[in-house]
Amino acid sequence: MQAFTTLNGLVCPLDRANVDTDAIIPKQFLKSIKRSGFGPNLFDEWRYLDHGEPGMDNSVRPLNPEFVLNFPRYKGAQVLLARENFGCGSSREHAPWALEDYGFRAVIAPSFADIFFNNCYKNGVLPIVLPAEVVDKLFAATAGNEGYKLMIDLAAQTVSTPDGQSYAFDITEHRKHCMLNGLDEIGLTLAHADKIKAFEDQRRQQQPWLFA
């Protein structure tokens, strides 16, 4: 996993509530058995005017000029600004894979759906919860200033605006540690292999029917 330390990234605003993972990456792209290559199909149904299928040459498909990702001013955006309950619906990890593959390293929203929120951390995409009023302000600032960037500092747990405002966000120590260092969580867990084994043995004795 890519480590995340600081990011001074261009912001792209997606002004819709309850954006679900079916919208982030439609199901026809879930048939892939790979982890990469989902970026061109991020928000496929909103982004293109035709119907997307795996294997198409996305570079020649007609773009929807009204969809924000296609605005020239948001080209190269690394921070997605979103509304509440972002990432609801299906557990597909293809959603953060697509965001990451497109180039987004952070998503800021007033709230996220649980599974999506978790999946982001496993893929070096930082989901940041900020209060709804702050998110409102950031939407206004992004709309009003072309090239608007936000500075995200994971170690300090802050999001800073170009005019010097700084907002703190929460993250558990465990996740922060993994993100900052780009750590493989399985390796960390396996350091507790003896404990897992002991727990399992005890469970096998107490509830043998679980191990039939």
């Binding site: 079916d22 299906s90 969580e185």
Partner: protein, 472 residues
Amino acid sequence: MTAQTLYDKLWQSHVVHQESDGTALLYIDRHLIHEVTSPQAFEGLKLAGRKPWRISSIVATADHNTPTTDWDKGILDPVSKQQVDTLDANIREVGSLAYFPFKDKGQGIVHVVGPEQGATLPGMTVVCGDSHTSTHGAFACLAHGIGTSEVEHVLATQTLVAKKSKAMLVKVEGELPVGVTAKDIALAVIGKIGTAGGTGYAIEFGGSAIRSLSMEGRMTLCNMAIEAGARAGMVAVDEKTIDYVKGRPFAPKADQFEAAAAYWRTLVSDEGAVFDEVVELDAAAIVPQVTWGTSPEMVVGIDAAVPNPAAESNSVKRGSIERALSYMGLAADTPISDIPLDIVFIGSCTNSRIEDLREAAAIAKGYKKANSVKAVLVVPGSGLVKAQAESEGLHKVFIEAGFEWREPGCSMCLAMNADRLNPGERCASTSNRNFEGRQGQGGRTHLVSPAMAAAAAIKGHFVDVRDWQFNA
């Protein structure tokens, strides 16, 4: 000892290790696997040179991509076929407790298969790379959906890194009116608390109306907990739970069953246990529910009308309503019972169990589908459900009514196989998600119960099943 919630008990009994920030390693008893979210996990495992920790925890089946007609032709879409073949190869290589491949008589939707095989047992932690894993909470399991990285993590370590959620009690007291089902409770709860209302919570469903539900009904309800934003839903153990489990292929056998059942009976919230949030509903006041928009919280009773955005003062919400109405091709204030349907889908892990099919068949009996309805798909949740329905003659009722009796699978719930809506087509669906494009690009989904779906198929528009004239 302080009184504990069911969630406290399930959580505590699975903590292997806990960090100072509350991050815990939870032991996983059952790992359900399907073809869509597992290939990258198996690949990751292999690349890292790791082996699965405990293969006897694995139960696998192919469901999302499998066709529901012409099984003799196999899977025609090469990309779908590759995914199903990859699952085959992976399971063959690593092994499992049970595997129900494409065309096996036990094959079906993973959340239907687990319980009916007795592979879902009370008190277990159950995970699957699928958000509707919450279904298994009906058996007092701590069950939730995980991402593919977590699938790999569980394969490699038999644990999940998790943080304890808050506990919510959704208490439904009283008696449900005739024709009102678990699906209507689920939609009514989501209508009340919203699709993010349960975010950060594990929901326990309790109260007399929940205790009156069959296990199938409880599964429907827990299935939809994720649509309320909760990662897990659960119902306490009672004798119905134990009776349901008894005798199933992977349930404990005679000598162990009583010991198991004695433990299972402790899986209830203690008297006086404190929840972080309590939501109460009156069962008698719930009417059959129909969603009108593109999120499950956009729901009203059959006796209501499509909302008018002009009445919404919050601008973000008003925008969502306007966008949803435009996508759904609906005018504000249209009575729900005036909405005509093109397609009806009875299936999915929410409503494809035997009881759901019985409810739909009871409505359809002696009727024909409306001419204006192009197709009615009835897709049983598994091969076993299909066989059971056929032994009861339900398939004949459907076929006589002009419905299509299909092979089991996820089908038009998410339209990864050939079953999908065309742009603009309107569908009454017993599934769980009405998101834009969910059942096919441009398709319009209205979520309802099996009885409401069957009635809509007969009449060509939504009707109130509380007034249905049943044929004997």
